[in-house]
Symmetry: C2
Subunit: 153 residues, 2 copies
DNA sequence: GCAGAAATGATACAGTATATCATTGCTCTG
DNA sequence: CAGAGCAATGATATACTGTATCATTTCTGC
């Protein structure tokens, strides 16, 4: 994990490049996400920005900010858990691959991995065979992290 | 799509085999799911059994029935949409593979496919490399069906 | 029939997400 | 630098998804 301030700078640069603004509130939400390896819900984050920055945000505002951050490829929404996680490639040079998430269903700790491109090709072929179109090949896998697996055993 | 009554019979047989009971209410819910290729939410189904059978069910009851049907492998829960779909292998002879779902994000029409086992092996290897354990390899892909893709174009 | 277990009912509430309309603040142009 | 127009946020209400808890009914096997 790199220094959070560096990532925030990279995020800001990336936003300017696309003509978007990383406002204070948006930065607060992003910071909360960057400070944890765990996926957090919109309401977790409302609580988080309150504790860390004394800022109060309504759900509407939070969801709008989350949508914005997602559209800028700074965070990911995990459908499996209805939670959000920072994108681990904000300050990378190499281009984005399709993300694959391993989500601990006990503690919400998330690992982001690039999907093997062969695998994506194989999935895409299968989808096309039945006449469907793949909108997002993002994969989310229901897992247990090492710690939680140890406790459960 | 086979005849629904035959599938219901197969479902009933499968339940008896595992010492479970496919009660009237459970059968009503399963029937509603079998009558549509589209994934339906718990509340959609509450509406559905009311219209089709005049039966009123509380959310608690519906979720209990859905849990039961899932535990008997008669239906699947789709995390991507928070909706439910019948299992397309209720009256098949061949053993269940890991399911992969193609979900139209516009109309909720679902296609169920067996995942290539090589692909599952590859996923499992990746997961183990980072110390995680795969709980359920069920894959859900965000797609557009042919009809919705045509309308969008 | 009766005891015990399984299934369902009833009520309340927690958590997730969006609709709608109002207000504030930034940016660009003249 | 004023003011128009748009981007961002605020405020209120409400819809949707899911669970906790305790009560009642129904089924099964003895």
């Amino acid at each position: 994990m790199q220094d959070i301030n560096k990532i925030l700078d990279a995020a800001e640069a990336s936003c300017s490049a696309s003509g978007a603004r990383l406002t204070d509130k948006r930065k607060q939400v992003l910071s909360c996400l960057l400070q944890s390896q765990k996926a957090q819900s919109a309401y977790d984050l409302i609580q988080g920005v309150k504790e860390n920055y004394g800022a109060t945000m309504q759900p509407t505002t939070m969801y709008r900010i989350l949508d914005f951050l997602e559209s800028e490829n700074l965070i990911h929404k995990l459908q499996l858990a209805n939670k959000y996680i920072y994108c681990s490639h904000i300050s990378c040079d190499h281009s984005h691959e399709v993300p694959q998430f391993l989500i601990c269903n006990s503690c919400d700790r998330v690992v982001e991995i690039d999907v093997n491109s062969e695998l994506i090709k194989s999935l895409t072929r299968t989808v096309e065979q039945v006449g469907y179109t793949l909108v997002s090949p993002q994969l989310e896998l229901d897992c247990l992290c090492a710690d939680c697996a140890a406790h459960a055993a």
